[in-house]
Every structure is written in C-alpha cells, then in structure tokens.
C-alpha cells in the first residue's frame, strides 16, 4: 500500500521509549518529526521491561553521567505533565491507589528511592566503596536501620546503601505519553506517530541517507534516527552499516495486587550490580523487588543470552521467586499471577549507541541501551536532538559513537 507522506525533518524508526524521547526532544528543538513503528507504540522491549530509573547500579563513567542527566530530565518531564494526562482511567481501577492526582506526569513517575542491601560484610564493603566512587547522593544504612527503610525486609543482612534519586515510571505509558505530549505542545504537525509501518530499506542520495523505504511507501527526510532497540542492528544493516546489538533475555514476575504496600522502595542485593555488568552468556538472576502504584509487586529480572526464544523457563521464574522471598519472607504467601519476558538490546561493551553515523551521513543511532533504556531515554533523546540540530551536546558522545566497534574489531 503506497501512501503519500509529508517530508519531515526527521524520521524516527521505533516507537519504544528511546524513539519516543528522541522524537519529543527533536520536536521541542523545532524539528518536524515522524515516528514510525511496525507494531503499536511501546510494543517492543519497552512494553516488556520494568520501569526502573536507576543511578545506584552504575559504575562511575559515561553511563553513570548519562543516567544522572536522564534522572534530572525524568523529573522535569514528570513535573511538567499536563493535568489531563492523569485521569485515573488510564492507570486503572486499582482506583485511587495512585499517589495523588496530578503526580507522576501521566506515566506513574515515582521518586521512591532504591535500597541496595548486602548479605555479607564483604559485600557491604564493596557497596560502600562503589557509592563513594560514584559520588551520587546516598545514605549508608547500618543493619539495625534497614527496617526503618523496609519494615518487611529479612533479618540477618549486613547493611545497605540508600539512593534517594532512584525512581520509576510505567514505561509503555511513558513512551505513549511523551509522543502525545510532543504532538500537542510543539505545534501542529511537529510530531506524528504512524503505527503498523515497517521500515524495509533506506532512500539514498549517493552516500547520504535521505529517507526510509517502508511497506507503506517511501518517506523522505532530512535525517533518520535508528531507535529500533534490539532490532537496531538489523535496521543499521539495511543502511549498510554495522552496530552490534543483540538480545539478552529477561523474565519478570508479577504478583497479585497487594492491599497494602509491603515494599516501599526498590530493593535489590549487591549481587545485582555484578550481574548487570556481567559478560556471561549463562543465566544470571538477581531480583529487584518493588511495589507499583496499582498494587502488584514486580520482581525482575533475569539475564541470559538465549536469542529471541520466548519459551517459558519455570526454573528461571523459580530463581527470581527464591531471591525475592529471601529479601522479603512475607512474599512467600503472595501469588504470582503473571510472568513475561523481553529482550534487552545489548552491545558488547554494555554501552548504548548514540549519535550520528559517519559511515552513512544522515543516519543517527539511538539504540542498544540493554537493561537501562527506560532510565536513559530522556538523556539519549535530549543529546540526540542536540546533535540533530547541530548543537554541541551537553555530554560528550564519544563513548557512545556508533562506529566504535569497527576499531575494536580491527586487529
């Protein structure tokens, strides 16, 4: 089916959280943006993840800087959410359980803080050490103070570190609402979303990328942003360039809604930090446990490289459950009613790919955020919009540049 398209300044491929943020900030910068996705909004990994916005789990370095910028931007976005975004209808009938109308930016933003706990004295030492190196706002919590933070926490822990900046959003709502907010705020036609449109190739003028080919016709544009998440490598290949994005599977367990919140913050063990940074292909689980405004507790997530295989693995669910129960014994009696899996987009060096691709002028990438794409999305969108507008990005994008793997792969 051929269709006629306007000629936007930018086409964004992918209506996940990263594409949504890129589109929002590009529209804010005055560009006309068309977002296309082969599926619905947030139908990719964004709809299959959790909404943790963590600064606590990052080693000092470029990712932590990106996370800190993003954390600030998430707060801005939440604070400037339009009232009508917060109709309880959209957040469900758990009704009234939302923390105050008007809060949350329309996407259940909650600045609840994260508590990282240590099972042993040695683990506690390394937590304290990490916190000192991060230079992020934190409080060291002695064992006797742990229950002041989390009354239902298991006994026998060696202490913890509390990070007040850790927050959460409902990722699918966040992606959908950012796109809509951009469309409503930045003038007619500044931001449009087209679902059910698959990008099948690129329009070129010599080397330059001047648009995309889709199953609904060609769209010409000044620039194209590859925000195809886990499929970013395939999209790059359509343009004849290379970004190595691969799937890293994760399962999440969801409990029945609890009548009263059992868990106040995000809680996870020191082992999580190691699992996130791990290069292992094998299964790793280290549960992050948290409540949600609608009542259920989320327990996520496992990490393993298993391609795009969705086959349920009860053993993995069992490990997640065991870790959650070890942290909160009271959870043993609560029922899991749902489990789902998603595929994190990861690059070999565990950093995302953000910026213009010198190998294909006109093409920009914003993908490969692995298990932190929700958290890192606003900063990614903001920096990419600066690059699109020809401005100097607030953060140095060199560590994230798309062609960095070419050099590594060269002997």
């Amino acid at each position: 089916m051929e269709e006629r398209w306007d000629v936007p300044d930018v086409v964004v491929i992918g209506a996940g959280i990263v594409g949504a943020a890129c589109a929002y900030y590009a529209a804010r910068a005055g560009l006309d943006v068309a977002v296309v996705d082969r599926g619905p909004v947030a139908g990719g990994t964004t709809g299959a993840g959790e909404g943790n916005i963590l600064v606590s789990d990052k080693e000092p370095g470029p990712e932590l800087e990106l996370a800190l910028l993003s954390n600030r931007l998430w707060r801005e976005l939440a604070a400037s959410g339009p009232e009508e975004d917060d109709r309880p209808a959209a957040s469900g009938g758990a009704g009234g359980r939302l923390p105050g109308a008007g809060a949350g930016g329309g996407f259940e933003f909650e600045s609840k803080g994260g508590l990282v706990v240590a099972e042993t004295a040695r683990a506690m030492e390394s937590l304290v050490d990490l916190a000192a190196r991060q230079g992020v706002e934190h409080v060291t919590v002695t064992p006797d103070r742990l229950r002041a933070y989390e009354p239902h926490l298991a006994g026998g822990l060696a202490g913890g570190v509390f990070y007040p900046q850790d927050a959460q959003v409902q990722p699918a709502l966040a992606a959908a609402k950012l796109i809509r907010r951009g469309a409503e705020r930045f003038g007619r036609g500044a931001l449009t979303l087209r679902t059910g449109v698959t990008v099948t190739g690129f329009v070129r003028a010599g080397d330059r990328v001047t648009g995309v080919r889709t199953d609904r016709g060609d769209i010409s544009a000044g620039a194209v942003v590859n925000a195809a998440g886990t499929w970013g490598g395939e999209v790059a290949a359509l343009a004849g360039t290379h970004v190595p994005v691969l799937p890293r599977r994760g399962f999440i367990l969801v409990t029945e809604p609890l009548e009263e919140p059992l868990i106040r913050h995000k809680v996870y063990t020191a082992a999580y930090v190691t699992a996130v940074a791990s290069d292992s292909a094998g299964l790793e689980t280290s549960a992050v446990v948290e409540g949600t405004p609608a009542g259920p507790v989320l327990i996520g997530a496992s990490r393993e490289r298993a391609g795009f295989d969705r086959t349920v693995s009860p053993a993995v669910l069992g490990r997640l459950a065991a870790q959650a129960v070890a942290l909160f014994p009271a959870l043993a009696e609560r029922r899991a009613i749902r489990a789902y899996c998603g595929f994190r987009p990861y690059c070999p060096d565990h950093l995302p790919v953000i910026g213009r691709d010198p190998r294909a002028p006109g093409l920009y990438h914003a993908c490969g955020h692995e298990g932190a794409g929700i958290g890192l999305a606003p900063a990614t969108g903001h920096l990419l919009a600066q690059a699109l507008a020809g401005l100097r990005p607030d953060l140095d994008l060199t560590p994230f540049r798309p062609d960095r793997f070419d050099e590594e792969e060269r002997p």
Binding site: A42, E333, A336
Partner: protein
C-alpha cells in the same frame, strides 16, 4: 531419570478421559490431572458425591440422549481402575526437556487451602484443557445476578439452587438451549431465550446433521413445554439494578447486532454467553503451532486453536491435543478426538494399534459440523454499540471503554498494547473474561476474518512465590522436596481465593 508416566493427560472432560482411558487400555502408564475436584469438564460437571438428582441424565441432555453422562461415568470408573486420576491439581506450567529425550514436565499445585507444588514427568503429553465461556461486555454486566451461560450451568449442576428464580438467557449458539432447558427443568422460571443470530440459523443451513437437528428439536420441545419463548435477533444489551440485577434491557438487533428497538424485563438472573474460547495457555507455553478456526466466510473473527494432524499430534514432538483446544465442537467430537489421541500416543510409544478408519471418519464428520456451527453463530461487530463510555470492559481492573479508546488514541493497535496502556486484562483473570472484547476493541478483528494471536501466559494459574521458589531449591523433578514447605503462619492474611474463577461470572 525415567519419567513418572508414559502419558500425562491434562483435562478431565470428555476428551481427556477418553484419551487417558484409550491409552491405559493400550497398556500405557497414564496419569490424568484436572483442576476441578471432580472429573467432568465443562460439559459433564458432576454433582457432588452423595447427592443424587432424581434423574441426573436430565441435567445432561447429551447428544444421543441421556446416555451421555452414564457413558462418561463408566469411562471415569474404568479409568480410575487403570490410571492415576489426580483431581484438584492445577497445572500452571508445562515444559519439554529436549535434552532429556523430550521428557515433559507438568508443574502443578495440589490441593486447595493446603496447596502443595508438585511436578509430574511423562514421555508424552495430551492437552485437553477445553474452553471457557466467551462473554461480551454491556452496561451492567458486572452486577451480581449476571452469569455466563457456562456459569449458570455449573450452578445448576453443582448445587441446584435455582428453583423460583426469574431467569433470562441471552447470547448466541446452540449451547443456550440446554442451559435454558436445564434451568427450566430445575424449577427456574425462564422468561426467554434470546439468540442474537437468527433463530433458525441452523435449520436454514443446507448442511444439516440429522443428529443435531433432532437434538435441537428435543430442546425446542422441552422449552415449549415450559412455555419458554425462543427469540432470534435479540440480545440483552443492558443489565440494571442498584446492588444486584433487577431487570434487563432486551433489544431487537439488525443483521450486524446493532440494537434497533428495546424493552425491559424484570428478572433476578441473567445467563449470557457468546460461544467459547479454547484454553491455550499450556500449548502456547510449549510453542505448539496454532491455526485460526475460521467461523464462516469472513464473518466475525476466527479463534486461534491448536493445529494437529490426523492423529491429534501437535507440532511439538510428544505433545497431543484433543477436544475444544483444537476447535470448539462439543462433547462427542471431544471424546472422539481424545480416543484418537490416546491411540496415537500408544502407537508412537511402540504399542500395536490397528488403524480405525471409522473413528477418523467420525472425527472428520463431527469437525465439519462444528465448522458449520461456527459459521452459523459468529459474533457480529454491532455489539460494540451496546457499550457506553463508562461501561467496564475489564472488570478485574475496572477499565471502562473510554480508557480502552484512549489507549488506541495513544497508539495501541492490539490487545497487548491496550493492556499496557489501560490495564485492561492485567488483573486476576488475566484477560480470560475480557480478552476477546479487548482484542476486538483494539482492532484485531479487522480486516474482517482477522484473528488475534493467542495470549501468552507464562503462568497459567496463580502460584505462591514460596512454592515457585522451591523450584529453584528442590531436587530434580519427581523426588520429594528436601525443604519443608514454608509455614503459612506469618501473620499474613491467607490468599483471598484459591483460584481465579473466570467461570460463573462473566
């Protein structure tokens, strides 16, 4: 490690029982599991032990006369003597271990209040999990007194407290007739049966199976005896009442089921059902190939069902499916398919099974008739006009139509994305009740004849985290757990209800 059984059968309705019995008679070591406390499935849900209705057969006007239940009961007795029958076992996951020669592990919860996790392994697996009611939403469908047709039948067969009630039956499909007849026979005053399709839909079809016509005629006579009017092109489009059902609005419908004129009727019970949705959680977990059971020539949308070969083998080696999971077709077809599956399992495990072409022909004939029924009673799109902005589409999460629309405006184009943006289908029943309506409202039934994908449910039944956790710490399947179950004493409220029961209330 050797598997516990040759064949595990999940589902104790006509398909599962016939499959298990056939396999056991052929010499296989068989276990049959069912969540309910008694065998019977949706169709032969049996009376509690010790209770004897005057003429139990009268409640089960099965095709072929009242012998249906007797025959099923004999099969159950015969099976109990030859196989392990585990009722009260809720299966929440199944797995196939390709490395261990394709051994199948069935993860279940045993018991009710004192539930315990249990894993059963087998060489072969027959999935006969049946179907559940398909309700359609309308204003007031969440009022007490509004039941699914299947729920009303369960009520009837379970405890018989229907005498004196004023009941309206509405929906589509031949199942409404035995429900109404059963209710009337049990002493309820059935005020009317309102069939949204044409009343003579089936009679008008050129391809009319004699047996079914006689059956329909039989119900017709019984309804006439109880003075129950049977109306076509009508539906209940609204239920009213302050705290419980007091009356309903009945509408005349046009071809597409849009209301064209209404009246109200006082009643205290409404039984409503628009066909059945096959239960596919377990086959989807295993990755069995599905196909679309197309009801008619682009009319309504088809339901996904498990694809099987002539021996009821699914695309996953060692896994068979029978009964409503392969296409809704009633108890007789289910039993036939169960027997075919039992024979295949035995043959595939090296037992000598002579071919039975008559059985295969019977299945083909009954399946062809089931397709005719699907064509005759499709759900028409006009039901959307029964809804108002504030009509709850998902009752677990109390999501009104307006929120579903808002999700679509935000860019949701399927049931899953509508769920993510509106919470419709995210609650206790996990979309088993509202899934069909939500996927239609999400646009998944267009273009006409389009079919929504079967939902993925990695956990087919709620399971306590403590029990799940033991999967990680337990010795390999089959051996007793080394750790004692976590004590339920801990000052926490016990779980509200043992199972989400999508049946009973629409």
């Amino acid at each position: 490690m050797t598997p516990d059984y040759d064949l595990a059968v999940i589902g104790g309705g006509p398909a599962g029982v016939a499959g298990a019995l056939t396999a056991a008679l052929a010499g296989l070591g068989v276990v049959l599991l069912d969540a309910a406390p008694r065998l019977g499935g949706q169709y032969f849900r049996r009376l509690p032990g010790g209770f004897r209705a005057a003429r139990p057969g009268a409640l089960h006007p099965a095709p072929g006369g009242s012998g249906g239940l007797d025959r099923f009961t004999r099969q159950c007795e015969s099976l109990a003597a030859r196989a392990d029958v585990l009722t009260g076992h809720r299966v929440w996951a199944v797995e196939r271990d390709a490395e261990a020669g394709g051994t199948l592990a069935v993860r279940c919860m045993e018991g009710d209040r004192e539930e315990r996790p249990r894993t059963i392994t087998a060489r072969r697996l027959l999935i006969a999990t049946g179907a559940h009611d398909r309700p359609l939403p309308f204003p007031g469908w969440d009022l007490p007194g509004v039941l699914t047709a299947g729920g009303a039948q369960a009520l009837l067969k379970g405890d018989l407290v229907v005498a004196g009630r004023r009941v309206v039956v509405a929906g589509t499909g031949p199942f409404l007739l035995p429900v109404a007849a059963g209710l009337a026979a049990a002493g309820a005053r059935v005020l009317g049966v309102h069939e949204a399709a044409g009343r003579f839909g089936l009679a008008g079809h050129p391809f009319l199976a004699a047996g079914k016509a006689a059956e329909a005629l039989g119900y017709g006579l019984r309804l006439a005896r109880h003075r129950v009017p049977y109306r076509g092109r009508q539906a209940v489009v609204e239920a009213h009442g302050e705290h419980e059902l007091t009356h309903v609005t009945i509408a005349d419908l046009d071809r597409d089921w849009r209301p064209v004129g209404t009246r109200t009727v006082a009643c205290d019970t409404l039984a409503t059902g628009y066909g059945f949705v096959p239960r596919l959680d377990l086959p989807v977990q295993l990755g069995c190939a599905l196909r679309v059971d197309q009801g008619g020539h682009g009319a309504g949308h088809g339901d996904p069902v498990v694809a099987v070969d002539a021996g009821m083998r699914t695309s996953v080696p060692g896994v068979y499916a029978a009964g409503e999971t392969t296409g809704v077709g009633g108890a007789v077809l289910a039993e036939t398919e169960g027997r075919l599956a039992g024979r295949s399992a035995a043959a595939d495990l090296g037992r000598r099974i002579p071919p039975d072409p008559a059985l295969a022909r019977r299945r083909d004939r009954l399946a062809a008739f089931a397709r005719v029924l699907l064509e005759t009673y499709p759900v028409r799109p006009g039901w959307r006009e029964w809804l108002r902005d504030d009509t709850l589409v998902c009752r677990c999460e109390e999501v009104p139509l307006a929120a579903v629309r808002e999700a679509r405006e935000l860019g949701a184009t399927d049931a899953r994305s509508v769920k993510l943006l509106s919470r419709a289908g995210m609650g206790w029943c996990q979309g088993r009740m509202c899934g069909y309506a939500v996927s239609c409202l999400a646009g998944e039934d267009s273009p006409p004849g389009g079919s929504p994908p079967a939902p993925r449910r990695a956990i087919a039944q709620p399971v306590r985290l403590g029990d799940l956790a033991r999967l990680a710490t337990d010795p390999p399947a089959g051996e007793p757990p080394a750790t004692p179950p976590p004590s339920s004493a801990g000052g926490l409220a016990p779980p509200a209800s043992p199972t989400p029961s999508p049946e009973g209330r629409p």
